[in-house]
């Protein structure tokens, strides 16, 4: 073919795609090749797409093999130290009852506190015990705060005070009334000795249970912390009528430690007078009466009181709970040895306030009172 004629044949012809001009003409000229390439590319693309689509599930299953187990979440209550279970013992009617509570109960539940005595707290491991005791002090420390608080408290208020705090308060009350009435001073007995003996005696009589009632076989009732008998209560009443005592207690007052310790202090003072200042004889007389004590009765009781005075009232190391509360509540209030009523700097309660001068109106020595 002649190239010139060939060019001539092409040029005059009508454009195949007039609107696209030269580019279109080139495309048309190359169309067989471009079409094949495009078709191939599309096919390859589709192939790849299809291959990918076919491969993805397989890869997904390959990479979807389970990995290390995600750590299981812990039950939220188990995370909270307060919700962890604690084994405790409750004291109900002197019976030790095993219970399971939470640490939070121990720190927050006043009804549980009211079931727990010193030895029940001793079983709780530290630091939980200390935390719990601190809560007790925060909530009920008022019971050991002094005369202003004691004066305003009723027996029902004392019902809400847990036994360990109440015990400390009773010891402080013993110190208070010892100082107030100059217990044993007339016989040269040091106030520290008198107060400790009184506290140990109250502990032995009632174990710090202010609602304690003991009915003997004849129906006679010993009431409250000092466990004063019907006879003793009658004697105190008589002394008041004669003007020898500046207070008179109703029966329900014996369940209020504020008055009950006062009555116990006065009764011990009477016994000291009977025993002419012999503390050991007075303690035995408190239990058995002066006549029986003079015959030698009350020895085991005296031993108990002396032991409790030395181990608990004066001692430490016998119980971590006792030590802790003693330090927290009694630490700054210890009656100094040789203190007198005046040095104690205390005043009487409004309800039992002496009508005249305190030292003149306090219980007088009562010879043969029993």
């Amino acid at each position: 073919m002649d190239p010139a004629s060939s060019a001539h044949d092409v040029v005059p012809g009508p454009p195949l795609v007039p609107r696209f001009g030269r580019l279109s003409r080139m495309t048309v000229a190359l169309s067989p090749l471009v079409g094949d390439v495009l078709a191939g590319a599309v096919a390859a693309g589709l192939f790849l797409l299809a291959a990918a689509a076919a491969l993805v599930p397989r890869l997904e299953s390959a990479f979807g093999a389970p990995g290390p187990a995600v750590a299981a979440s812990v039950a939220p209550l188990d995370l909270l130290p307060g919700a962890r279970p604690v084994a405790v013992h409750a004291t109900e009617s002197w019976e030790k009852i095993p219970l399971r509570v939470t640490a939070e109960d121990l720190l927050e539940d006043p009804t549980l506190w009211n079931r727990m005595n010193f030895d029940d707290w001793d079983r709780i491991p530290d630091p939980l015990r200390t935390q719990g005791l601190e809560r007790l002090v925060t909530r009920h420390g008022r019971a050991a705060a002094g005369e202003a608080a004691w004066e305003s408290m009723t027996a029902a208020d004392w019902d809400r005070v847990p036994q360990p705090i109440r015990a400390m308060a009773v010891i402080l009350l013993a110190e208070y009334w010892t100082a107030h009435y100059g217990l044993g001073i007339g016989h040269g007995i040091e106030p520290r000795v008198a107060a400790d003996t009184l506290a140990a005696l109250l502990m032995s009589e009632s174990w710090f249970e202010h609602r304690a009632v003991n009915v003997d076989i004849n129906g006679n009732r010993d009431l409250g912390l000092p466990q004063l008998s019907d006879y003793a209560r009658t004697v105190l009443d008589r002394l008041h009528r004669r003007g020898w005592l500046d207070f008179r207690l109703r029966e329900e007052d014996y369940f209020n430690p504020w008055f009950a310790v006062l009555a116990g202090a006065v009764w011990l003072d009477l016994m000291l007078d009977e025993a002419r200042g012999d503390v050991e004889l007075a303690v035995r007389a408190y239990r058995r009466g002066i006549a029986a004590a003079r015959r030698g009765d009350g020895g085991p009781y005296l031993e108990k009181v002396a032991e409790r005075r030395d181990r608990y009232i004066r001692g430490h190391g016998v119980s971590p709970t006792w030590d802790y509360l003693s330090r927290r509540l009694r630490g700054k209030r210890r009656l100094p040895a040789g203190a007198t009523a005046k040095e104690g700097g205390v005043t009487g309660p409004a309800s039992a306030q002496p009508r005249g001068r305190e030292q003149e109106t306090r219980a007088r020595p009562l010879v043969n009172a029993s």
Partner: protein, 338 residues
């Protein structure tokens, strides 16, 4: 066109046709009956997820080999590839938590690792999937053994409660937090809501009773326990709590009328009878029955009936003490306090 070019074209056309056939044979399922664009996006997402899973897979492998830091990188890459996936966030949080656990308690790095773990979990929660597992782990991270952030715990627990998939424990934990913070109203509302959400969960009813008891609202505590036990008399723990509440009213409420106290004693003895008849003789039940019998005897006239009550009380006390003897730990030597 030369002959060579023509052969090439034939080969090219043939290969194109073959490719097209193969593509059709491979049968892209997604291309049938759906828009190509949508399917393309779907495929792209799947590839992204695949990439993320690949990194997760590598992360797992790294963990298996003990390469925690490599695992961290892989999980991070997985999170970057597919932010919506929860799994890498959870695993990454685990790795950070493990790294934190291996650090000394006071090491500042420990807290930093815990914080990172918490961030991962927050990201997983924001991912929009099912957030409860991540929230539960977040509760743990914010707990006292972790970041010790009660506010964080509260947030996570509240979110769990909002999901409607909560467990009774989670409500109790939230109430506990409020309780500790002195937020009584919130604690009570949480417990009341938990009681509505989980009416059959004894722990919730008992905890609500405890809430009232701690506030010395004995009547409310007893009302909660009584209504619960009326429907579920077999809940021994709840029944014992009720007995203890009745003891407080019978033995410690000195201002209550004698008849009221007698009724409480009778009620308590009835509950204890049933518990002892239907289950093992637990020491607490025996001993409570013993002290209630003594209380009943104290209110009885002297005579045969009172002697019987006291004799039964003695026998129960004996048995209760025998049963409880091995359980309680001995007090430390020398502690014989009252």
């Amino acid at each position: 066109m030369s002959a060579v070019t023509g052969r090439r074209l034939v080969v090219l056309r043939a290969s194109g046709a073959l490719a097209l056939l193969l593509a059709l044979a491979a049968g892209i399922p997604g291309l049938r009956g759906a828009g190509v664009g949508a399917r393309w996006r779907s495929l792209r997402d799947r590839v992204q997820r695949l990439e993320a899973r690949y990194h997760v897979h590598r992360g797992h492998e790294a963990l298996r080999r003990g390469h925690d830091r490599l695992a961290v990188r892989e999980y991070q890459a997985a999170m970057a590839s597919d932010p919506a996936q929860e799994e890498p966030s959870l695993h990454l949080a685990d790795v950070y938590k493990r790294l934190a656990d291996s650090a000394a308690p006071r090491d500042p790095l420990r807290r930093e690792q815990l914080r990172r773990a918490a961030l991962c979990l927050h990201r997983a929660i924001e991912g929009g999937g099912a957030p409860t597992p991540a929230l539960r782990r977040l509760v743990q991270l914010y707990g006292p053994d972790g970041l010790d952030t009660p506010a964080g715990m509260e947030w996570a627990l509240r979110r769990i409660l909002q999901t409607g998939e909560s467990l009774p424990d989670e409500s109790l934990a939230l109430a506990h937090l409020y309780d500790r913070a002195g937020m009584d109203r919130e604690a009570e509302a949480t417990l009341l809501a938990a009681r509505r959400a989980h009416p059959d969960a004894g722990a919730v009813h008992r905890r609500l009773a405890t809430f009232y008891r701690r506030r010395e609202d004995r009547r409310a505590a007893l009302a909660v326990l009584e209504s619960w036990l009326a429907r579920n008399p077999d809940d021994r723990e709840g029944a014992l709590a009720l007995v203890m509440g009745l003891w407080d009213l019978a033995a410690r409420d000195h201002e209550a009328a004698a008849e009221t106290r007698t009724r409480h004693v009778r009620d308590a003895l009835g509950i204890l009878d049933r518990l002892l008849a239907t289950g093992p003789p637990e020491p607490a039940l025996l001993l409570y029955r013993s002290v209630f019998l003594r209380l009943a005897a104290a209110g009885a006239e002297p005579g045969k009936r009172r002697d019987e009550l006291l004799a039964e009380a003695d026998a129960l006390r004996q048995r209760g003490r025998q049963l409880s003897r091995p359980a309680p730990p001995r007090p430390p030597p020398g502690s014989g306090a009252p």
